[in-house]
Amino acid sequence: VKDVLERVLYVEDDPDIRAVGAFALGLGGITVRSCASGDEAVAAATTFGPQLILLDVMMPGMDGPATLEALRALDATAATPVVFMTAKVQPAQVAVYREMGAVEVIPKPFDPMTLAADLRTIWQRAG
């Protein structure tokens, strides 16, 4: 197991945000697998083998929590730390996300320049 975060599975339905997010992570030297939906993420997870999963909460079809549940059922991602990214960041809501198994919640809009570093810190802490 590597002690540096290198592989992130990024699930985001909005193409524009996905593009910006992926760009930002790539900028920070992280290998990103971008998925437009939960289904796509579940399909890609095992092959990709992410060290961390960055998950949008509100998505059509499978939403963030449902995707998290599906990923937990996979061996490859059963214990992978998950970070939610959402615009709904009221403290009560954050508590719910943590309850679901998220290690951290990153609010939208995020700072693309610090996103990679933030995720690294979170990953280290969770590690």
Binding site: D13, D14, P15, D16, A19, V20, F23, M58, P60
Partner: protein
């Protein structure tokens, strides 16, 4: 009254009896006295006669003695010649004659004696004559001759004869004496008998009187005794009655009842027990008396146990002899020590329910009368207990109700059928700013200015129809004079004082204020967002357009993303502001006649680039349709564009979106058909709502704001049209818009209802969702106009599309929108239709300015509305006449 009359009657009877008895007695005494007196007289008479007889006998004896003296003196002289004898003889002879006279006198009343008198006289005369002769012989011839003469016995014979006569007379007198004595004795005896009888009779009367009086006294004593028992019962009952009616609490009343039992029935301890029906025990609520309380005495007794419990269970009164009755735990010794010998208990029952027991211990045996007395008050006490309990539960329920009513946040008013305020709760006081005392009894018009018409009951009737059982909006007036809107739900109820109305009142001023602030906030925020947004979009546009130098491919991609999303944000802000404007009736509509076909063509051309982006084709069907509509060209284009862009977004690549126009009877129908996924069942009802997407993510994915269809619907309705859709999952959706066709509008004459042979009647459209009010208004208008009713905005559009009205009565708060949305339709060229607002809502200034009249429901009345409609019609008629173009 009756017993008194009886007593008086008895008094009189006794008096009559006594008077009668005494009178008879008096008469008897009188009769006896008279009788006795008369008998006494007879006795006296008899005695007089006897005395008389004795005198006669004495006289006869005296005469006889004189005769003997005469004879003896004669003999002495003859023998002796002694002159003394002669003298004696002379004296006696001289007395003899008067003696006989005496006899004659006293026997004059008796003929039988009188008859003998002459014989006696004659014999005496002969005797005297013979004696004289003898004496003369002696004197003259001496003794011998005289002796010879004597020896003839002549003298002796006369003497014997006289004696015989006298004897006969004596005998007669003796007989008379015997007879008279007998008579006298008879009288005396009779006198005695009469007296005795009289005395006996008196005794008998006295006895009778004594008996009568005694009987009467006994009767009186009995009556008095009975009376005192009645009085005792009555005082007891009265004491109990007073206790029950005058005591402030049941507890105090029962204490007083117990005191009365002790005081009037001679109990040592009296107690009153009341059944607690929940626990089935008797609880002692009151006790009284001088007896020392049994320290072990129970305060609570299960029904059915001990004396008191058994009386309650059986419902039968009892007197128990404590000296012989088996003791109950703990009280035998107490009873003995306290000298209690008897116990009486009586159940308290009302309508077959045993509510409790009254009980009494006594140091003397308790009589049936005492139990009877307890029985007479038991009902009253039972009723008292029952009433007090009913009052208690009523009070409890009243307290509950009052607490609820007072605690309500909603105001609660009740009025009687003349609209006078009967009660208000605390919230109502707070809402209207009056205190309870200031409101109760006042007319409702002090709170609702609209209620101040000439006939408050008419207002109540109108309010009933409008507000009964539902929430409606009214205008209220506070104590400080300020007018404010409130919600009212009216209900009806009956009391003994007749029909009442209750109104639940909710102050809407805050609600409206919040609504206003919210709208203002959204509007402000949206406007404030526009400024920075403009800079962002402008700056991005410049950079992306290469104005600031060449860009790398990556930079260009990121800038495009930024630019696209800033434009989306701008659309969102514009949409929000549009909605606010339309809802506030501030969006200007420039209504004009439009040909449909070119409009559709233009719309398709405008959207073709967008469609191309999705790989979707656009096609117009029936593009040569020659139909004209009345609409605002820009707004209608906005509508079609919205529908087209939705259809394009949801169409699979390679599909075609069709734009179809068709003309129906009065409307032109424009359809946008796609072959998309269709609209999910659960989403169909909300599709025209705000920020409603079938999936929340669609906004972003499809680039919409979530406000498109909401705005589209608002615009269509403002244009006087209707919007709808048909959809099938997996097959596609069709959104359609129907707008009134110009021909159908313009072709209609203004006043077109001409009854066969009748005068033309104006037509009125009343737009109001209230189920009853239109009926009232129609009835009021029916005199001079025909009224059609539309229950909502959509129906109103259909009505307006289907015909021309001379005046429209317009409500604002409608189930499917605002009446304000109908304004453009009413102000269309070719003849604006006058309209009158009749609404519970406040009318915006600008809209009010366009209306012929404004009536706010809570401030105005149907009558005022009817007047307005009349005025409008009259003005229209005048205008038509002046123009000389009666269509």
């Amino acid at each position: 009254l009756k017993p008194d009359a009886g007593a008086a009657g008895e008094d009189r009877r006794l008096e009559r009896r006594l008077v009668l008895g005494l009178s008879v007695s008096l008469l008897t005494v009188l009769a006896v006295a008279v009788w006795t007196y008369r008998t006494e007289q007879l006795v006296r008479q008899s005695e007089a006669w006897i005395t008389h007889t004795h005198r006669v006998l004495e006289t006869i004896d005296h005469s006889s003695a004189l005769l003997d003296e005469v004879d003896a003196a004669q003999r002495g002289y003859v023998v002796t010649g002694e002159p003394l004898f002669l003298e004696t003889y002379r004296a006696s002879a001289a007395k003899l004659q008067p003696s006989f006279g005496e006899i004659r006198k006293v026997t004059a009343d008796n003929p039988r004696q009188t008859r003998l008198i002459p014989l006696l006289q004659a014999l005496t005369d002969q005797k005297i004559a013979f004696t004289e002769k003898v004496l003369k012989e002696r004197q003259d011839r001496g003794m011998k001759s005289a002796a010879t003469l004597i020896s003839t016995n002549r003298g002796e014979v006369l003497k014997i004869r006289i004696r015989r006569v006298l004897d006969e007379m004596s005998g007669e007198e003796d007989r008379l004496l015997a007879q008279r004595t007998g008579v006298a004795q008879g009288h005396s005896r009779r006198k005695l008998v009469v007296l005795g009888f009289g005395i006996l009779l008196q005794f008998a009367f006295l006895f009778a009187v004594f008996y009568l009086v005694r009987e009467d006294l006994a009767e009186r004593r009995r009556a008095a005794a009975a009376m005192s028992e009645t009085v005792r019962l009555a005082t007891f009952s009265a004491a109990v009655g007073a206790a029950l009616t005058e005591s402030p609490t049941l507890h105090r009343a029962l204490e007083a009842c117990a005191e009365a039992m002790v005081g009037h029935l001679g109990g040592a301890i009296a107690s009153i027990w009341v059944v607690n029906s929940k626990e089935l025990v008797l609880e002692r609520l009151a006790t009284s008396g001088d007896g020392v309380e049994n320290s072990d005495a129970l305060e609570r007794i299960p029904v059915g146990q001990y004396r008191i419990g058994r009386i309650a269970a059986e419902g039968i009164p009892r007197i128990l002899d404590l000296t012989s009755d088996p003791p109950e735990p703990g009280d035998k010794d107490w009873a003995r020590r306290q000298g209690m010998v008897a116990f009486a208990g009586h159940p308290l029952t009302v309508a077959g329910r045993t509510l409790g027991v009254i009980a009494m211990f006594s140091r003397e045996p308790i009589t049936g009368a005492a139990l009877h007395a307890m029985s007479t008050v038991a009902d009253a006490i039972a009723l008292g207990v029952d009433r007090a309990r009913a009052a208690d539960s009523l009070r409890a329920s009243e307290t509950l109700t009052r607490s609820i009513v007072e605690g309500m946040l909603e105001g609660l008013l009740t009025v009687d059928k003349t609209a006078r305020i009967k009660s208000v709760n605390r919230a109502a006081e707070r809402i209207f700013g009056y205190s309870r005392g200031e409101l109760v009894g006042q007319p409702l018009s002090c709170l609702i200015p609209d209620a101040g018409g000439a006939r408050p009951d008419a207002f109540i009737q109108e309010a009933r129809i409008r507000a009964m059982g539902r929430v409606t909006e009214w205008q209220g007036r506070r104590k400080d004079g300020s007018i404010f809107p409130f919600e009212l739900a009216l209900f009806e109820f009956w009391t003994s004082e007749g029909r009442h109305y209750g109104g639940a009142v909710r102050d809407l001023s805050e609600h409206y204020e919040i609504e206003r602030l919210k709208r203002e906030f959204v509007s402000t925020v949206s406007h404030e967002l526009r400024t920075p947004l403009t800079s962002i979009r402008g700056a991005l546009g410049l950079v992306a357009g290469g104005a600031a130098g060449p860009l790398s491919t990556q930079a260009k991609g990121l800038l495009d993303i930024a630019l696209k999303n800033s434009e989306r944000l701008a659309r969102l802000v514009n949409d929000i502001l549009d909605i606010e404007k339309i809802e506030a009736g501030q969006l200007e509509f420039k209504m004009e006649e439009l040909s449909v076909a070119p409009l559709l063509q233009a719309a398709v051309e405008d959207n073709r680039p967008y469609a191309d982006g999705f790989g979707v084709a656009l096609a117009v069907e029936n593009g040569s349709l020659d139909a004209r509509i009345l609409a605002d060209s820009d707004r209608l284009t906005q509508v079609i564009t919205n529908l087209l862009s939705n259809a394009i977004k949801f169409s699979p690549k390679g599909e075609t979106v069709h734009l179809v126009a068709s003309a129906r009877s009065n409307v032109v129908r424009i359809e946008v058909r796609d072959h998309g996924p269709g609209i999910p069942e659960e989403f169909r009802s909300r599709i025209f709502g705000r920020f409603q997407q079938a999936d929340s993510s669609d906004t972003r994915q499809k680039g919409g704001t979530g406000l498109g269809l909401a705005i589209t619907r608002l615009i269509v309705e403002q244009l006087g049209g209707t919007i709808g859709f048909e959809t099938e999952l997996g097959r596609g959706s069709t959104f359609w818009v129907e707008l009134p066709a110009v021909d159908s509008v313009a072709a209609r004459p203004r006043i077109l209802h001409v009854e066969a042979g009748g005068a033309p009647r104006p037509r009125v459209l009343h737009v109001d969702d209230d189920p009853d009010l239109p009926t009232i208004v129609a009835a009021a208008l029916s005199e001079f106009a025909d009224v059609d009713v539309a229950r909502g905005v959509r129906e109103a559009r259909e009505r307006l599309a289907g015909g021309t009205y001379d005046v429209v009565v317009l409500d604002i708060g409608l189930p499917d929108g605002s009446g304000l949305e109908l304004q453009p339709l009413l102000s269309r060229p070719g003849g604006p239709t006058p309209f009158v607002f009749f609404s519970a809502h406040e009318i915006p200034q600008d809209a009010a300015g366009r209306a012929a009249a404004v009536h706010v429901k809570s401030r105005s009345s149907v009558a005022a509305l009817v007047e307005s409609v009349k005025t409008v019609l009259a003005e229209t008629a005048a205008g038509v006449d002046a123009a000389g173009v009666l269509p």
